[in-house]
């Protein structure tokens, strides 16, 4: 017995000594540790598919960046953003768009070599040669007609036709150092095969950004230290934080624990359901930025179900009546933002707010108006059973489908109660997303075939230009057919006719008006009604770092950290 106690006591004492006695080396200066939920596979910004490629913002900036929650475009490597007004964008004799870029003078790569148009020419080579492995080239091959170097700091890119999205898509890159990459390309190596793209050679990576690689401990963390060749020019803000560590934590609960015990200083991309738990941690500031997904109710404009209630959805007033019965802001405040501190609002339109006119607003909660609209459409409670009917004994009953995500089911529970209050019955079903709800037409997916009255799901939009994919989902030619995703039956030839002028109008004001018109047409159809934006959430240790310097994280999926050099320690 005594021996057992001795063994146990000795073990405990040793453990305690280790806990107390281990000396952890403190790096000089300020270090911020960011919890990262996935490890990158490679460092190449144009060949890595992983979420973790957001790390790029620490070490590899390019000619432009999109800052802030409204995605304001900012020149990084170039003197100014080329526009029609400043002469940087001209129309050629054939009507094609031609853009002239002027690099800033005095920029240095992290190894001290100067940045010139030779690096941009390498970018052109990467994008136009299919063997380089730079497969995230967008429509560069499709849109670019020629690339011409004028001098060490000037180059011109000419597109094949009018191309208003030149800053968003098929944009040239100068973010790769020619003196490091070109010799290896000549040897036949792809980007992903270059030694400095992998963990073992990461410290040799040469980029243009506020930080450079210090160490990559596979499976554990990547650390960066200040780039000695960044900060010597007026446009290069020298970072106030000396060292950035991306610490890989794969478990959501552990991410929170790590922030609470001080192992990390910043956690991001955690689910909204954790907002309360993060907010309860001492000295932790919580905030969110807009995402590129908006969960919404999609009403079927061309119902396939022969029941009178389903068929009634073809009437725009019935669709409006259903939405007027819903107190959507209350759902948000109940389920996502009880204190209102996150400021989450009901989305007004499918497009990003940048492209929506002020007069397009979400339908207000007004159950009386909802009843009036139903009555106008012939739906009243004739038999006094509390359920609207058409006078022929057919009750108003609709079917709603969503995925199995709990937050969506919670929203539908509240929606069901509000509809019930005005006499509308709604059944809802949570089904597997990939194999049932979103399956394609050939596999009889619910949305693709239009076999629903209402659905709740999210599509992503492009905050920079809805032309890049968003318009695709609403074409008349996409309704319930192989390859078409338009199961909700929106079809408006006037809307479809906007696609071509939107894609070719270079004048920004004229183009914005076209987008506004498209947004209004979507809104007037009353088939899309936003429920909640899928924000990106952050929590930072405010005792160590100043949250005010961090809140403008960006709205794109990949630009969260492109203002890291402006972050400051607390106090």
């Amino acid at each position: 017995m005594k021996k057992l106690f001795r063994v146990v006591s000795l073990s405990l004492m040793m453990s305690l000594m280790l806990v107390i006695g281990v000396r952890v080396v403190s790096a000089q200066g300020t270090t911020i540790v960011i919890g990262w939920e996935q490890e990158p596979s490679l460092l190449s910004p144009v060949s890595d598919m992983a979420f973790a490629s957001y790390l790029t913002n620490f070490y590899a900036r390019d000619i432009i960046a999109y800052y802030g929650n409204n995605a304001e475009i900012t020149p990084i490597m170039i003197e100014e953003i080329p526009t029609v007004e400043n002469g940087g964008v001209v129309e050629t004799e054939t009507g094609a768009t031609q853009v002239t870029y002027k690099l800033r003078s005095g920029m240095l790569w992290s190894d001290g070599e100067p940045i010139t148009t030779a690096d941009c020419a390498l970018g052109h080579r990467l994008y136009s040669d299919e063997t380089t492995g730079a497969f995230q080239r967008g429509s560069y091959l499709e849109q670019v007609a020629s690339f011409e170097v004028i001098d060490d700091l000037t180059f011109v890119i000419t597109y094949k036709g009018p191309f208003p999205d030149y800053l968003v898509d098929a944009t040239p890159t100068c973010g790769f150092p020619a003196h490091k990459i070109a010799p290896l390309l000549d040897e036949g190596k792809k980007l992903e095969e270059m030694p400095f793209m992998s963990p073992a050679g990461a410290t040799e990576y040469v980029g243009y950004g506020p930080y450079v690689f210090e160490e990559w401990r596979v499976g554990e963390q990547i650390s960066f230290v200040r780039n000695p060749n960044w900060g010597n020019n007026p446009w290069e803000q020298a970072p106030a934080i000396d060292r950035v560590v991306a610490r890989f934590i794969f478990d959501a609960a552990q991410m929170r624990n790590a922030l609470e015990v001080g192992d990390i200083d910043l956690a991001f991309n955690w689910p909204v359901s954790d907002a309360g738990a993060y907010g309860a941690i001492e000295n932790v500031f919580v905030w969110s930025t807009p995402g590129v997904f908006q969960d919404a109710l999609w009403l079927n404009m061309q119902p396939t179900d022969p029941s009178p209630a389903s068929q009634a959805l073809a009437d725009v007033n019935v669709r409006k009546a259903i939405i007027h019965a819903l107190d959507r802001q209350k759902y948000i405040n109940t389920l996502l933002d009880p204190d209102g501190t996150l400021g989450i609002k009901v989305p007004a339109n499918y497009f990003h707010p940048n492209w929506v006119p002020d007069d397009v607003q979400p339908l207000a909660y007004d159950p009386d108006l909802a009843l009036d609209l139903f009555a106008d459409a012939g739906w009243t409670d004739t038999d006094g059973d509390g359920v609207l009917d058409d006078g022929n004994g057919n009750p108003f009953l609709i079917r709603t489908y969503t995925t199995t995500a709990q937050i969506r089911l919670d929203f539908l529970t509240l929606i069901q109660a509000d509809l019930k209050a005005i006499g509308v019955n709604m059944q809802f079903f949570g089904v597997p997303g990939g194999t049932v709800l979103f399956a394609d037409f050939e596999q009889r997916g619910i949305i693709a075939t239009g076999d629903f009255d209402m659905t709740l799901f999210a599509l992503s939009f492009d905050p920079l230009s809805p032309n890049l994919g968003d318009l695709y989902w609403f074409g008349c030619d996409k309704i319930r057919r192989p390859g078409g995703g338009n199961g909700y039956g929106f079809c408006n030839p006037e809307f479809d006719a906007l696609a071509e002028p939107i894609a070719t109008t270079v004048d920004p004001d004229a183009r914005r008006e076209l987008y506004y018109k498209a947004a209004r047409l979507l809104s007037e159809a009353q088939f899309w009604h936003g429920l909640f934006p899928r924000n990106t959430f952050y929590a930072v240790n405010s005792a160590k770092f100043n949250p005010d310097s961090m809140v403008e994280m960006g709205v794109l999926t990949g630009n969260y950290f492109n203002r890291v050099e402006y972050w400051t320690p607390a106090g």
């Binding site: 281990v22 080396v25 560069y140 091959l141 992998s198 499976g219 610490r247 552990q254």
Partner: protein
Amino acid sequence: MGQYILRRLLQAIPLLIIITVIVFFLLKSAGDPLAELSLDPRITESDRLLKRAEYGVDDPLPIQFVHWLIGDDWYVRELELPASDTTFVAPNLCYGQEIPEGERVTLTLPNGTEQVTLIKNNQCYRVFYQRNDNKGILRGDFGMSLARGRPVLEVMGQALPNTLLLGITSYLVIIVFAFSLGIFQAIRQYSFFDNVITTISFILVSMPIFLVALISVYIFAVQFRKWGLPYLPVQGMYSVNTDYSVGDLIRHMILPVFCLAAISVAGYSRFVRASMLEVINSDYIRTARSKGLGERRITYVHALKNASLPLVTLMGLDIPFILAGAVVTERIFSWPGMGTLYIESLGRLDYTVVIAFVLMLAIAVVIFQLITDVLYAVLDPRVRYS
């Protein structure tokens, strides 16, 4: 004995093939590992098709399995790239070579890949695609990790040492504590401490490991910090700012090792206790006592050797899973080992890594089963395989 070992090894070959086939086809049926390429507007249709051809994910499943076994450096895939993506190339020129219209020509590209190419309507079409670096597992090539773009063996080679460190340490702790507690309980059957340890054992055995992990994190890290006590790190192998000292490593190992060991110690100690109770009441132990042997010698030499036989089987089954890593524990504590790698690869449908992982595990199970059987013969002279 030699013939027995050889026979067992030969018997293992069809078993490994069956396991591999099942895992391969199950995993391949789970989804498309490159599906996300089609969601990224920055990736053109032709780049997407070339990437898919590079990994052969559009080949029929049986063909993919054959390629995984013997490689696909001999196999030519036919592709037709969208004209819109190929119009950048000058008319009649493919990679700087002039090619007559309609004629198929084999080009060796700068990276050494051979491609058969054809000019059609003045545009350069790469209609065939052949890679030259995938040899297949039978030629010692486990392929490239789809998610990481690096060789599977390199990826696994980085994770395995970390898992072995955690697993072996845990196992040593388990053996020491399980035998100590089991023997202690057996020789003091129904004492106060026997009852206390039994109760704790039942509680621990009933708990899932993630619960033990989360509770231990909550107590030894979160609450200890709140109470102003020295607290333990909750993730990783080393601190953020570290001198890579052994002490720092041990400090990071305390919680994961505790979680791994706690449940196993509880279970194993019950086995040891039961076996020891059976043995110490047997005739030969009574004889040994009557001959005047010391109690310590009876317990640790004569009784323990026979009592450990059932445990050898149990451990023989468990030890291979050290290689697999403790999937839950490694993930919770962000330990960069095989368990974490496996879960992450599974989530990203990185089938080359997952299949290699399962194959390695299956081989380990076969080998350790064989070692267990051989150990049986060593520990129990009555067992003969010849």
